[in-house]
Symmetry: C2
DNA sequence: AAATATGATTGGAACGTTCCAATGTTGGCA
DNA sequence: TGCCAACATTGGAACGTTCCAATCATATTT
């Protein structure tokens, strides 16, 4: 017995023509009914729908898309699904698109430019109604120009690329980092490290700027050695902490480029018998769900990735309705979420904070 | 200036007919060339391809799919992308499918049965060549029977549903849990908790069985209260540890249903000033990437989610080539990865283990 | 030299929709 | 009664491929 497809072979699946015959109307009428057109009398419409159900009709998108020269497919290109930030973003995106009747053609690039080009070309062949692109590192503006010539609406997400003439959804990196650094400064930290890529593109640049501004505002100087160049990964976070702790002018706190870097940092601190929030302070960026349950829970700048995804989807949907309005732009306003990974600098308040004392306000939100 | 679509409006994009004219061949020839058919003389083929490029031709899948009554779309339904296990699985899947020339239509159900039905129906309309389904909790076998009638190959992933007549890719839950529990027992633990759902379906059942078998093999009894019923989430892990620590016959170790439960457990332990691996032992299940960088790094049963995804994709591809072979089945053999979250029970070896001593073998694999 | 095999190419009818233009059918109004 | 608008429905030509059957050329065999 074959595993799949038992029972009678499908025969020829019913088409609108079959429905038309059975319902004694023309196929045009059936088509209009299926599209929910108000041109058809309600009575006729329900009858037709009844017949369609009875025959087990299933709409043929290929045919419709061919004729309409369009589809309900949104191509979504994610550079690193392995980072929960993007996974959560994707969830928000997909949900919103699905609610609007679109379907998500998803591809993962793993930061590989060739893969990125390939999948984009493929999405084009599928007649995607729109594209959402989290560009891989070093994506050239030329690629975007090329896509523009395809006349498919594109929304750039998270990492800006090229000029401002493309729709974009991301977060306010400078403000967010400013808030994070300020938080550390207000807790009495004077030597604060920055763990992230050096020359890692515009997002890094903005975060570094926010960092620098906050330091300046608190009259803190930045030693060059505190700008620690590591890849934006968990391993990077580990390495960053190792470096930070080895410095002659040793920092007491670190802003981490993103939450997974921060997780790496927490892990490394733990292995050295240090407790984040007491012996060293850590702040992340992104606000992924895991941060509420790391050890210790992570103070971070939350952009609410799922919500960012939803907003991004909305932006693209707007663009689809208004193909020729000026560039759309959405910048999520990040929120500082204070949890236990950031504590007071030695001497800044009482002396050390009892772990127990920290436990009560498990999560507190600040603007 | 409009944001998108500047320059000349697309005109009419070139079709194979246009290529045919320009290359002085018939459209049949062009079609064959594009399909890489060996029927066409190499010389002609390259000429045609040249013309196609020159005209900026782009293949129209809608048209082809209509005519072929098939597509290169694989519909993938994921129940919880928020769990890195599934995100990593999806990455493996997508990569493998893309390499084979397929494209991934992805949908997220968030464990919602209605959403699941909706997205499956949608994928059917798109003429998906195959489906990959991580079923939501409580998916009824009836749904699968229904899908079977669609005559689209389905691969069930991770959670078995219904009878064994469907292709399935998952992991050996019993063996994995057996290994995890054995590991704890061999480290001298005699009171071991099980953190997971009670009555959570077949996967839970198998893991509980592996747990029970390992306990029996080491002549350990299982107190009912050690079977702690919590949702398979980070919050669940927290709650589970709270409960475990409050028991009269207090366990010294816990097997966690999956890695994110384990993360919750680590977090809760940390907040109580306990260190996993020294004061309490934790073992997870799944082997998500984060486990190598949690605090402390997590001992877990790894099924290598990305690889599982790749294998699943291979299984479906095989099915597409062999539509009527008997049911295919793939069970990943899980590996115990010993990291720092599991230590020796008090008195079982020396006394307590110095944190420093643990640091060296950062990661060790065992079968 | 005819007959046959092989290789390379082609004509054209599908595939199942959509949507424009046209047609038929009411009822209201002059 | 005739005219017109509004409403409801319809015919049929696209959309861009694929693939079967047919054709044409060339080489090989008898």
């Amino acid at each position: 017995m074959p595993a799949q497809a038992p029972g009678k072979p499908p025969g020829r699946p019913p088409t609108i023509t079959d429905i038309a015959e059975a319902a004694h109307v023309s196929k045009s009428t059936v088509s209009l009914v299926l599209q929910g057109s108000p041109l058809i009398k309600a009575e006729t419409a329900t009858r037709v729908r009844g017949v369609a159900d009875a025959l087990g009709y299933v709409y043929n998108r290929s045919a419709a898309d061919l004729r309409r020269r369009a589809s309900n497919i949104i191509g979504t290109v994610i550079n690193d699904l392995t980072n929960p930030f993007f996974a959560e973003l994707l969830v928000g995106l997909e949900r919103e698109l699905a609610d609007a009747g679109y379907v998500t053609l998803m591809a993962h690039t793993g930061e590989d430019l060739q893969t990125q080009e390939r999948v984009l070309a493929s999405m084009r062949e599928y007649h995607a109604a729109g594209l959402i692109l989290c560009p891989a590192f070093d994506t050239s503006p030329a690629l975007l120009q090329q896509i523009r010539a395809w006349h498919i609406p594109v929304l750039i997400v998270v990492r800006p690329v090229g000029d401002e003439s493309f729709d974009f959804a991301g977060s306010d990196n400078e403000t967010g980092t400013f808030a994070a650094t300020t938080h550390l400064a207000e807790r009495g930290h004077r030597r604060i490290a920055f763990l992230g890529r050096v020359g890692g593109g515009p997002v890094y640049e903005l975060r570094r700027r926010g960092f620098a501004r906050a330091m300046r505002d608190h009259s803190l100087t930045i030693e060059d050695e505190w700008l620690i160049d590591i890849p934006p990964t968990r391993e990077g976070g580990r390495a960053g902490i190792r470096q930070a702790l080895a410095l002659r002018s040793r920092p007491t706190a670190a802003f981490c480029y993103n939450d997974i870097v921060a997780f790496g940092a927490l892990s490394e601190l733990g292995e050295r018998g240090l407790r984040a929030g007491r012996d060293f302070s850590i702040v992340g960026f992104d606000g992924i769900a895991d941060g509420a349950h790391s050890n210790p829970p992570l103070t971070t700048i939350s952009v609410d990735p799922a919500r960012l995804g939803a907003s991004a989807a909305q932006l693209l949907l707007t663009r689809l309705r208004e193909p020729s309005s000026p560039p759309l732009r959405y910048l999520a306003q990040p929120q500082l979420i204070v949890r236990q990974s950031s504590g007071w600098a030695e001497g800044a308040r009482a002396t050390t904070v009892e772990p127990e004392a920290l436990r009560e306000p498990l999560e507190r939100r600040t603007t």
